[in-house]
Amino acid sequence: MSDLADCTVLAGRSVRLTRRNPDAVITALVLPVLLMLVFVYFFGGAIETNTGKYVTYVAPGVLILCAGYGASMTATTVSDDMTGGIIDRFRSMDTGPTAVLSGHVAASVARNAAATAAVLAVAFAIGFRPHAGPAEWLAAIGILLLYITTLSWLGAAAGLLAKTPEAAGGFTFAMLFLPYPSSAFVPIDTMPDWLHGFADHQPVTPVIESLRGLLLDQPTGNSPWLALGWCLGLLAVALPLCAVLFRRRTG
């Protein structure tokens, strides 16, 4: 399938472009690690959780925050392509939207896998001790990858919608905010009542609950299924949306 070959070439390109952009390296790798340290050392002392050390409670949350945030940068990379001349060249070479967009998404997943590894390494270094067997680890990584993929496709849609790369950055901002009103950093029952409805029913909460449950060997309830449902549902919206937006954008 030539789309697959093109996607590989373009994912390689996107990863290379990230590596060469100091801003992007900092936002993709350094910032997540810093966030981990900030949460544990600045806020950790003040937050009560039922998992013993705060680092153990918060590490999955920071993983989610970084994943969502990193994935949302797809909005900017897609927007860069759409506003520069390069998309015309790709189109005139019959490289279709499927290859162009999935190239960006694949690069995003690769980038975020690296960031996740870095955050995990730092978390281990500062005392994160999960209790998970290989099956739990696999399930956790699977959910994380699905989450990253989903947000990357949503990011791609946002990038197609935004008129400028700066505007596309707004999506990143939203993704940076979304984990806060969830159980990522503090238990939901410590939040004001009016937030419970949103925090309980937004997609980040089941993802984070599954991750925490799997890694810390706690009951997960139906969280993994909710997480799966949310991700697949959002993907089912994002993929056709991308197709429509791309066609509208390129007339």
Binding site: S2, A5, D6, V9, L10, R13, R16, L17, R20, N21, G84, G85, I86, D88, R89, F90, R91, S92, M93, D94, T95, T250, G251
Partner: protein, 313 residues
Amino acid sequence: MHPAAEADWAIETRGLSKAYGSVHVLAGLDLRVRRGSVFALLGPNGAGKTTTVRILATLTRADAGQAVVAGHDVTAARSRVRRAISLTGQYAALDEEQTGEENLRMMARLRGHSRSAARNRATELLERFALTEAGRRRVSTYSGGMRRRLDIAAGLVTDPQVVFLDEPTTGLDPRSRRTMWETIGSLTRAGVTVFLTTQYLEEADRLADHVAVLDGGRVRAEGTPEELKKTVAAQRLDLTMTGRSAYAELAGQLGERALHRAPEELVLGVATDGSAAHVRTLLDELDPTRAQVAHFSLHSATLDDVFLELTHE
């Protein structure tokens, strides 16, 4: 379409129209470009040259009309057209943070070359466009001319049948421009059809087999550069008058016959065939007292004259 006609024309359009809001950019454009020729589309800024190229290269849809490129309809058989053409747009379409070589390799891979074939093709093109040294550097460090050359090279990673070049030499110095002309010439020797737009009339004159002047959404004139020049008189006799009053008097007398007017320099131009007899007759006719004309010069028509003549408001 008739098979013989199909063999002859690399590009054929009928009644192409395109409007952006209330701006009617193209209003029934008819063009024919012979296979293996160089076709130059001229026109003032905003005439719709880029729009035409984008429609022919399948990037923009026309509102009405038909276009057949390399034997395929641009809307009905978009992919086939895309596989037969290459486009180098008016503005660079390169990754600034990849090296020249990486850009070319990427394009070649997207065009279906294997890894090693792509590498060879990139090396070959860098050499052909005098970018071998620069190939290892990021494009962000390139000069405007180098960028332009790389951009055109990127269009040639496969061997297209029709090459679209939107203002290929804008921003190039005279030497690079000449090199580019040679490159374009060498393309047609290999049987490729080149469709280019340009602001430089001299360029069209030097390169093109066929020229069309676009204005007001239609083709105002077309033909070989020679034919077009004939439409404005092959030669012009320019007379420098001795003073303002002499200029005003002769300008009044000539009326429409004056092909060229430059009041500041006191110059008026009239058509001539360039023969001594005709020039002498003209001088006697226009300056019977032999006191009004200070100097004269003969001027061969350029495409600039055609352009200005055809596109004046």
